[in-house]
């Protein structure tokens, strides 16, 4: 088992004819992902990497009713429209790779997706990978090996880094979910954890957070209330970031947003979650937890 994506996931690529879209279509196909169609308005009838291209999601679904997921490479200006199209046509899982979508637009389609019961991952996400089964995203496959550890990360490259360090210690990943670096995303930590909690194969979950927002604190509170039973190990980036600055996608540091490094680590520890000081401590902590899980 794995969460969100596996070998049964049938993918349509939105924005397949663009530079990013076509490149990653090939990469995903190489990995074994089941890509069945692509969409670019006006480019219907062509092919990319052997995959048929359609003018609209409805056309794609009419030809391939088996489609269950979409990955979006459409530029920021047109991304929201493409996402609404997929939600409205009933696609269950929508992975939004696009960066720089205005946050007001994200807010709207994320709320809408909850009503329609579509799952949105991202925007600004590397995507989701279930090693050995499928990747619906842009992550480099080489850093991921199959296993029983779930990863939920706000940062893409840290997700690769952690998975790689695990691999070097002989530890593998069930599914790694990149939540996306934007201030508002479709899945948050709690919602992503709900999938892992239900997944028989996942024994422990690594949560990679960063400064900004209060998601980690909110997760910690839910964990403390006993919402989840599986062990969680956390790592928070940004301990040395000066206050009031935007560090990459670490979110708008608007006043009144407390999400500091200290408050996050404190509430996580307070909820019985192990917090790694350095990335390189993670495999060790996982090893410890797995041992206690096995007992």
């Amino acid at each position: 088992m794995a969460v969100l994506v596996d070998s049964n996931t049938k993918v349509v690529v939105q924005g397949i004819t663009g530079r990013e879209g076509s490149f990653h279509t090939s990469e995903m196909l190489k990995y074994g992902t089941n890509i069945v169609a692509g969409v670019t308005p006006g480019k219907g009838g062509t092919k990319v990497a052997g995959i048929p291209v359609y003018n609209s999601i409805r056309e794609a679904i009419t030809a391939h009713p088996e489609i269950t997921a979409s990955i979006v490479f459409v530029p920021a200006e047109y991304a929201s429209d493409a996402i609404y199209e997929s939600i409205d046509e009933g696609i269950n899982l929508i992975v939004v790779v696009t960066e720089h979508i205005p946050v007001h637009e994200t807010l709207r389609f994320v709320i809408y997706s909850k009503y329609r019961e579509s799952i949105i991952v991202g925007p600004n996400t590397p995507g989701v990978i279930s090693p050995g089964k499928a990747k619906v995203g842009i992550m480099p496959a080489r850093y991921f090996t199959p296993g029983t550890i779930g990863i939920i990360s706000r940062s893409g490259t840290l997700m690769y880094e952690v998975s790689w360090q695990l691999a070097k210690h002989g530890l593998g990943v069930s599914t790694a979910i990149g939540l996306g670096g934007d201030p508002v995303t479709g899945l948050n930590f709690i919602e992503a954890m709900e999938f892992f909690e239900e997944d028989d194969e996942t024994e422990v979950v690594i949560l990679i957070g960063e400064i900004g927002g209060k998601q980690e604190e909110i997760f910690a509170k839910a964990y403390l209330r006993g919402k989840f039973s599986k062990p969680v190990i956390a790592f928070i980036a940004g301990r040395s970031a000066p206050p009031g600055k935007k560090m990459g996608h670490a979110g708008a540091i608007i006043m009144r947003e407390q999400g500091t490094f200290t408050s996050k680590v404190k509430s996580l520890l307070n909820s019985g979650i192990l917090v790694a000081e350095k990335l390189s401590d993670i495999p060790k902590l996982v090893g410890k937890v797995l041992k206690s899980v096995k007992m």
């Binding site: 990013e20 920021a76 205005p102 980036a237 670490a250 608007i254």
Partner: protein, 375 residues
């Protein structure tokens, strides 16, 4: 991007919100001239993009045109964060019955907008929130629903102002907030003068992603870019996140998380980060070269740490980009590189005398050592 206060004032006017009399000046003479159209007494405010100007001495009062001239001269001769203060706003100091606080912001965690209304305005809202939390009313507004009439009932009863006036004001602020893709629209203080509500000082933060693509925000965006240093501008054009810090180690990484973690590790090992540069997605050779050049030109930076965990990027290309710069600028570089054609890249770099690591922790130690010994 934080708008200048005068830009915010213009937006407020355009959305039918009552503001105080005011006039923008870029010289002491112009400031004095402003006083012809703006009645005394005065308040003179430096137009800089920053929070809490009051605390930073960037807001001064004046009672006469002569005093305005003096204050203006002083203010316009100052620098703020390395830049000249080149614009000031001469505002009429409104007589007030009461000073209130009102803002609308985008709350990422509750996935909604939040209206905050305070009965104690004119002071720092964060201080008020700590000392008098009960003075602040919060109302969440769902983006798909918008303002409901009950919001006016709640605000009117909390702020003790007329329901219709506050409904008009909050409605106009909300339209402004939505139309301009704001992260924050704030009035502080909101002044009750007679029976009128006047937005006497304002702050607007606009979402950069929207300003980048929507033409009705282009004016603000271009003004913003114009005020940046060449390096900052270059960063924005290429989608980098560039932040200058106090130390001597420049950090380049792909992905905010990885770059921040590099910074954290350097800090934990006792090094002093001097600049943070996140390449964002797509770390190709050209982007790496441009980013490196920004750091090379930063005089405070003595050593550069490059952390590329690419995977899809061809490492040999990146390596050639780095090598071409090193010969030109002669600052030491430590590289952590992983990805496609990693070995080829490593060879190219090592041939040019650049230390390459594949383990992050080892690379960090090397950088910190270099950094503390001066390279």
């Amino acid at each position: 991007m934080i708008l200048h206060e005068y830009e915010a004032r213009n937006l407020f006017l355009r959305y039918g919100i009552k503001v105080e009399d005011a006039c923008l000046a870029d010289s002491p003479d112009k400031a004095k001239e402003c006083c012809r159209n703006v009645p005394a007494p005065y308040i003179v405010k430096a137009q800089v993009r920053v929070w809490s100007r009051g605390k930073l001495g960037l807001i001064k009062t004046a009672d006469t045109p002569r005093e305005v001239y003096r204050v203006a001269k002083d203010m316009l001769s100052k620098k703020f964060k390395g830049r000249n203060i080149d614009k000031i706003l001469i505002s009429h100091r409104v007589k007030t019955k009461r000073e209130l606080y009102l803002s609308i912001l985008l709350d990422r965690d509750s996935r909604s907008y939040t209206i905050m209304a305070g009965t104690l305005g004119g002071v720092d809202i964060e201080d008020i929130a700590k000392s008098y939390p009960e003075s602040i009313l919060q109302i969440n507004v769902n983006p798909l629903i918008g303002l409901n009439p009950y919001v006016a009932r709640y605000l009117s009863s909390h702020l003790k102002v007329d329901k219709e006036s506050i409904w008009n004001l909050v409605g106009n602020m909300y339209r402004l907030f939505i139309d301009n893709y704001c992260e924050l629209v704030e009035v502080n203080p909101l002044v009750l003068s007679g029976n009128e509500l006047i937005a006497v000082d304002r702050k607007i933060v606009i979402d950069d992603s929207a300003a980048r693509i929507y033409s009705h925000l282009r004016g603000f965006w271009e003004q913003y870019l114009e005020e940046l240093t060449k390096e900052e501008r270059l960063s924005i054009i290429h989608g980098f996140s560039y932040v200058e810090l106090e130390g001597n180690i420049g950090i380049v990484g792909n992905g905010a998380g990885l770059t921040m973690t590099s910074m954290d590790l350097i800090y934990l090992e006792g090094g002093r980060p001097g600049a943070f540069l996140d390449l964002g997605g797509g770390a190709n050779a050209e982007r790496v070269r441009i980013a490196l050049e920004i750091l090379m030109k930063n005089p405070r930076i003595e050593i550069i740490f490059v952390n590329i965990l690419g995977g899809i990027t061809r490492c040999d290309e990146v390596a050639r980009g780095i090598v071409s710069l090193v010969s030109k600028y002669r600052k030491p570089i430590v590289v952590r590189l992983a990805g496609l054609r990693e070995n080829e890249g490593r060879k190219i770099l090592e041939n040019a005398g650049i230390k390459v690591f594949s383990q992050l922790q080892e690379a960090i130690r090397e950088v910190v050592y270099y950094g503390s010994t001066g390279g």
